[in-house]
Symmetry: D2
Subunit: 341 residues, 4 copies
């Protein structure tokens, strides 16, 4: 099956290339870029086996005729137009961006403060977190953000089981730098990031509405309310999300872990663990590791999940969705082991 | 004034030596150690200007007669006996350990699960967070833990001003590796720490009771209840504590910042800032940087504070207390600038 | 084909498991360990997809009957006995350790200062750097060290072409911490390694005799003499070797690069590049990137090569040799792309 | 004594502010910047105790009348004009840039490939490496580069003692990112630097002519010829220079160390050590740590030195020179201990 990538020059785009090059069912035949179009792949991503490949433009007109599916890894706002155009042309799309993730225009306005160009098309897109939403047969999938994936996988079954008060959830998360994309800014220099941690987007991060939407939709519980504070830490990849919420009623830790285990029984990419998972253990794999603790002193539940923001948080999860959309095995071409010893 | 350090071979001990060597009012004449006693200072701490100094034993009997004050930087449990012995001998003590931090035996039992050898002496010690507790004239001071310092400085004025519900506070914190001390364990190898983040001590960390005690004592508000989750991140030094709590009533961000500014007016080591402080900015200085945000969507308050766990979180704060105890200027010998550009 | 790993609990052992799990031609059916035998794989290597696998002992007696080949990833000195025993039992061996790398007992004594238990068996082993030594059909292969691989790949064709004075070669190399193995020592703590670089083994590193042997054997030039200084740098993986030697005669840079390109024409895992290669670009792949510069001011040649010490410097190269030994494609199961964007 | 800094917004400028704020003999009254002029000091350098200070322009006209000395921390080429103007106005200058380091126009042309605007003024400037060149009474001092300082301190006494062949010296060095200045470029992003090492400026780095000049001038030996290869490693600060040269004649290691010890007897900022010095040990101090090894196998000498590129390699050494120029104690305001435990 021939696939294309638009936005191949970024971190998520590079990761898509790396994973698709090793995927037995997809052949990435068009690697599109914006300002980097025309450059050799090996120049833009010197870690990849570039061969003689050259980046093409992010242009639907230039796609090979046989293209079955396009992965969009574009900046916010750049997917809306192209996504609709491709879908209307009968090409399947997995959008790694945020343009089609929210289900209603109201939520979109709340998250972004501006009008969506195709508000009536939002409902056409399936939220591509395959463990919680059914993407089989879908032709347009909005792949989740990295922070939302980490928080939602941990919290959704717990909210669905009414173990916590859903109106008072605190999500604190830490992420490596690739989560912010390949941006040239003073705050992303090695000399600004190493040996430091900093919170950002306090109270305003666009991933909060996405978390609330997906937690409500997957659990059937309304009025999910999240306080979300992300932090940048000095590492390349990896997210740990630590979510705290008041217990709904007294419960043992083992019961909570059972709820998580049952929710993800048979799902190869979610593993319920007994100890707090280190983000390292997931780096390179498409797995989420999740655990939970009952804090009797404060009558609260603490849920901890870890993933690789570029794999399960971006390129890997997009390929997982594409596998299911196209009737292939969910795990095809996706690593279950990480890299860091 | 002649001072001694017991526990000079650890990270906090080394930092005490570095700061006291540059302090115009204290002369560190006895550097005690346990298993490292007898080794050259330059061998144990190759970054220090060791000269021909050699580590002595952690033995009160061997202190020079003129010793005015002893800093204890010993493992948990090792200060109780020595601390009482020194105080009884008329020598002032600043204990950087946790043996004398809690005010009652009940809290001690809750935190440590074992009896304190001198429970009736706990009340003799002043909690050495000088911005909130008066250590002037004290002769026995229990210097706060690094996580508690970061959380308490941010939260105490806010709880005192009844801005939040004190019974439902979530404190998430991240720390560099020196916070755990100089321990030889697989989990502290470079090949285990770099490129990863991990939570630990979930629901069981002994710093939680310390936070609750100090927040109650400094604010006069009872029933402070904290859910505390610390995380290890790949850096040498630095803590960011992010505390979230339901708002007590509607309030503007500017009012919250004013509460913080008023609480710390005239205090050189607490700076209220407008942006989330990066832990880097405090590394090497004795400062806490603190800010707060009102999240209207979730009706909660987010307080963020940053400090260097080895300076304001350990050696610097101990010297700050010793300065005040001995009638010297609070800032003497303590840097107001950090190191990391 | 069924294979076994002895020494599966170390960094190289874990990397062997990760690569062999994804290899279509080898099935790792016995994972041996020493002190960690009996532990779950997922406990020892939490980044791997452990499943219900448990580590077995490093015991040839316990190998499944159908075992075709054993990878030895043992500490220095531990391979000699087991290696000979396995070979004598008709099982192929790839030894990632240093016991069988040197060709003569003289060189072994020089490198290690002690007698080899089977000196007469040294000549039976082929040095497993497949780009320079023929391992096809071999049944006992000594896989090269990480530093030697990096230096030899860059220097061998240049020495063979008489471009430099072989008696005066300076090799300076830097390595990430996994090159030293998974050792519990103060000098390998995060708090000792981060933010620092240090040389070690100056003039005494056992990889120097290995480099000299392989450079002589591969080039046919005698009297190769190397001054080798390795350095530890704060990263997980990766080596850059920078080799400097007096020019044999005037030469253009393009001629030198042509010599390298011709030497490695058709070899998928060596890539000659125009710019100094960053070690990051190779991390996760089995590639060596190499370049060279002519310094006219000093009439010297500077050769720079980069690789991942755990892949091309250890597990990957061992599998590359095993592929060739067993008649499979050299590249089977071995990544040509790295991980780090 | 009132001093000024031009170029206060860069890494070296910030370090000058930090050190001068704590210096009892110098008062930094004018902090000049180019594009950042007008910004609050605390905004440009959030780690410093900015107070209400604001950056002024890099303009000699705006200096306070009582300014005794100006530190120039400007990009290459920007010091020539201002330096001459200040000197002609009777103000002492310490230039941390490279405009006045080379002694002759020939060497300048070789290093930079362009004409110096004031070639006849080059000889007026003293090379500010106080351990080897006399800066007492000087009014215009060119402070050395970071790499040259590290290599020269180690090699100068050894060349002067004719222990090595000076025509065949290989200097390999590694540096943290602050050595490159505060530049916004893709190659300096955290996501490009962490977990990698890369050589750069091979055969062309402008610090090579500076090393050769200073080694010749300080030793009296002509025809010093250096092959210099610098590398960028993932850390904030610190340099290790490893220099290798053929032995001039047979010598014991102890004799070499004695030559170094005698050369630096009584110099507080150079310490001869027995083990390879880790760059960490010097970070924050104004020290160079140096050692040497005799390699009998290759008849070569390996000299290893370590320093903090922003202190002894920049701001600290400039203040050391200013101390001597103005008749103050060499060590005034300069730390002898490092920061990293």
């Amino acid at each position: 099956m021939q696939v294309a990538i638009f936005g191949a020059s970024g971190y998520a785009g590079g990761e898509l290339i790396r994973l698709l090059d090793a995927h037995p069912g997809f052949d990435p035949t068009h690697l599109g870029a914006h300002t980097q179009a025309g450059k050799a792949l090996g120049e833009v991503h010197p870690h990849l086996d570039g061969g003689d490949r050259v980046l093409a433009p992010n242009d639907p007109e230039m796609l090979p005729d046989e293209t079955d599916l396009v992965f969009l890894a574009l900046p916010h706002g750049a997917s809306a137009e192209i996504g609709v155009e491709l879908v209307d042309a009968g090409i399947s799309v997995v959008d790694l961006g945020s343009d089609f993730r929210l289900d209603t225009h109201e939520r979109y306005l709340l998250a972004y403060g501006s009008e969506h160009p195709y508000p009536h098309r939002l409902a056409d897109w399936v939220y591509g977190l395959p463990e919680l939403f059914d993407v089989s047969g879908a032709t347009s999938v909005a792949s989740p953000g990295c922070y939302p994936t980490s928080a939602i996988v941990g919290l959704a079954p717990i909210i669905a089981a009414h173990l916590v008060d859903p109106t008072s959830i605190t999500v604190n998360a830490v992420s490596g730098v690739t989560g912010a994309g390949r941006k040239l800014a003073d705050q992303f220099l090695f000399g600004s990031v190493a040996e430091g941690v900093v919170a950002y987007g306090v109270g305003t991060h666009r991933h909060r509405p996405e978390m609330e939407m997906a937690l409500e939709a997957s659990s059937g519980v309304e009025s999910v309310n999240v306080t979300f504070t992300p932090h940048l830490v000095p590492m390349q990849r990896g997210i740990v999300a630590t979510s705290t919420a008041p217990l709904g009623h007294a419960v043992e830790r083992s019961e909570v872990l059972d709820v998580l285990r049952e929710a993800y029984a048979g799902r190869p990419f979610v593993e319920v663990v007994e100890e707090p998972p280190q983000s390292r253990w997931t780096v390179g794999s498409n797995k989420v590791l999740v655990t939970a603790y009952v804090d009797r002193h404060s009558d609260s539940l603490v849920v901890i999940s870890a993933l690789d923001n570029l794999v399960k948080g971006a390129a890997g999860q997009a390929i997982q969705a594409a596998n299911i959309m196209t009737g292939q095995a969910e795990t095809k071409g996706l690593p279950l082991s990480g890299w860091l010893p």
